[in-house]
């Protein structure tokens, strides 16, 4: 079985982002970029499935500008077999991403598509679900455990109030939650080897995708800042303040 993993290049999660003064976006000049953490988990899981003999080939795909190839190389260094870069000059909306991945899924005859549950920049949490809708295949979002069982995949997923276990007929689409695994680090020899692994480049028009503009981001705003308050010296003072100043306890 072939596993397709979708990855995205995003601003590093430890960077404190700043909104541009003109409201056109966030400051992205000289900001550290990285693979979206949820995508890293998806890559790790795919590699583990291959190591366990449940997958034959791991193909990683990223839709973005030229610089996305850096993240595809990282995925190859971690153990993916092959990469596909879909070159676009500006970010795609989730529905267009899902349509592109559908074409990939059909073309590659992938048995399982793994994606992160959300990217930490747009925080949409949509692409896996949309891909499942377009392909009319089953979905398991927020996966914390994945087991391949013949023609099926069993997934434990994190839901409000606890956990849920689903059995999906393959091909299926699964999105990863943080607790699924602990991604490995790439070793230097593997980084060197990754340079020789195949990376195909394609475009939306080559794949027959016409982008649809569903939404326009009119403005990016700074959220209201919480001002830091005071430090109290003792438990008595804290309780007194909560009772008489903030009036949040009886």
């Amino acid at each position: 079985m072939k596993v397709l993993v979708a990855i995205k290049r995003v601003v590093d999660p430890y960077v404190k982002v700043r909104v541009k003064a003109d409201g056109s976006g966030i400051e992205d000049a000289n900001v550290k970029m990285t693979m979206n953490p949820f995508c890293e988990i998806a890559v790790e899981e795919a590699i583990r499935l291959k190591e366990a003999g449940a997958a034959d080939e791991v193909v990683v795909v990223s839709i973005g500008d030229e610089s996305s190839q850096e993240q595809l190389r990282s995925a190859l260094a971690l153990g993916a077999d092959r990469a596909i870069h879909v070159d676009v000059d500006k970010p795609c909306e989730p529905l267009s991403v899902a349509k592109t991945l559908k074409v990939m899924m059909d073309k590659e005859q992938a048995g399982l598509v793994l994606l992160g549950k959300q990217s930490i920049d747009t925080d949409n949490n949509q692409v896996a679900q949309m891909l499942a809708a377009l392909t009319e295949r089953p979905q398991a979002t927020f996966a914390s455990k994945i087991t391949i069982d013949g023609e099926y995949v069993e997934v434990e997923r994190e839901v409000d109030g606890g956990l849920e276990r689903l059995k999906l007929a393959l091909p299926a689409i699964v999105s990863t939650d943080l607790r699924l695994n602990e991604p490995r680090y790439a070793s230097l020899p593997n980084i060197m080897k990754a340079k020789r692994k195949p990376m195909d480049k394609t475009t939306l028009s080559e794949l027959g995708i016409t982008e649809k503009n569903s939404q326009t981001v009119v403005e990016i705003l700074s959220p209201p800042q919480r001002s830091s308050g005071i430090k109290v010296a003792s438990v008595e003072e804290l309780v007194e303040k909560l009772r008489n100043e903030a009036k949040v306890i009886e």
């Binding site: 295949r137 308050g229 005071i230 903030a246």
Partner: protein
């Protein structure tokens, strides 16, 4: 305008979830921007009269639409999305809560309708424009949708819960929709039992982080929570260390809460965590590190050893 607004109900078979009550408020705001378009509440499931009655007394609801079938008792998106898509034509807006249920279902529905989706909306500005947080809440996006049907999920903590009016009764309509066969089977569920208030709806939340040190030590956090009739939350570090179950995680990738009082104990205050609690009215931080970033968002900070402070605090309130 003849357009209608649809809210997909999340329920436990008896009552509407608190997240859906907040979604109803958001729907009412959309209605105010669309010449008072009627708001339909869709109940999908193995529906009993008790639930229908408890939903018909929300004055925000014009009509309760009931689709009842035993196969719907497990609300799997693969089944629900095409059913909702098939009945979507009269609706200009379809809303559901940004709970794990809504996040799973809503994008699947949107793709079937060939439209985009607005995630985790916190402000309704007009019929087609909303505000939603991005970058873990470090920026807000004002977004206009051009879709014929606007599909969105709504952040519970950003809207008041719709109120019931026992003198009111919404129209009720039961309809038949084909129930598609699917490729998903539910094998089991593990529900975390708790006598405490629900995390996302609690007035007071007491959260513990890595600094609590162990699962056993978490009992102290629980005692304080019980004293305040509070819900218990946790940072990702505490969940990963196995102190508490993962459905208690507060943050960008967990629950978003906005209680009157949030007490962060042994939590450093990483961006990821702050994204889930910074809308709280009053934040208290108890931490041994005076430079912990949590103090930057805390109204009241107390520096010290939590094992000394917590017993004193429990005693004092």
């Amino acid at each position: 305008m003849s357009d209608r607004i649809l809210v997909i109900a999340e329920h436990d078979g008896k009552v509407l979830s608190s997240a859906s009550r907040a979604t109803l408020s958001a729907a009412q705001q959309v209605s105010n921007h669309t010449d008072g378009a009627p708001v339909d509440l869709l109940l999908l499931g193995d529906i009993r009269d008790e639930l229908v009655q408890s939903c018909s007394v929300y004055s925000a609801v014009t009509k309760v639409v009931v689709v009842s079938d035993p196969r719907l008792s497990v609300p799997l998106s693969e089944r629900l999305a095409p059913m909702i898509a098939a009945m979507a034509a009269p609706y200009s807006h379809i809303l559901m809560s940004a709970s794990s249920f809504g996040k799973d279902l809503s994008p699947r529905l949107a793709a079937l309708l060939d439209v985009g989706q607005l995630s985790d909306v916190t402000v309704i500005e007009s019929a087609d424009t909303v505000i939603r947080p991005i970058y873990a809440g470090n920026a807000l996006a004002r977004v206009t949708s051009h879709d014929a049907t606007i599909v969105m999920t709504v952040r519970e903590s950003a809207f008041d819960k719709a109120e019931v009016n026992q003198d009111y009764s919404a129209e009720i309509e039961a309809i038949d929709v084909d129930v598609p066969s699917i490729n998903t089977e539910l094998l089991g569920q593990v529900v975390t039992e708790s006598a405490r208030p629900e995390l996302t709806a609690a007035n007071v939340v007491v959260s513990g982080g890595r600094g609590v040190g162990s699962k056993e030590n978490f009992a102290l956090v629980e005692s304080l929570a019980d004293r305040l009739n509070a819900a218990i939350g946790a940072s990702r570090a505490a969940v990963d260390a196995g102190y508490v179950s993962n459905d208690l995680q507060v943050g960008q990738t967990g629950k978003i809460v906005a209680p009157d009082l949030y007490i962060a104990i042994g939590i450093s205050g990483a961006i990821q965590h702050v994204a889930g609690m910074k809308e709280s009215k009053v934040v208290v931080a108890i931490n041994s590190d005076p430079d912990a970033p949590i103090f930057d968002v805390a109204d009241y900070g107390l520096v010290g050893d939590l094992f000394t402070i917590l017993p004193e605090l429990i005693e004092a309130i």
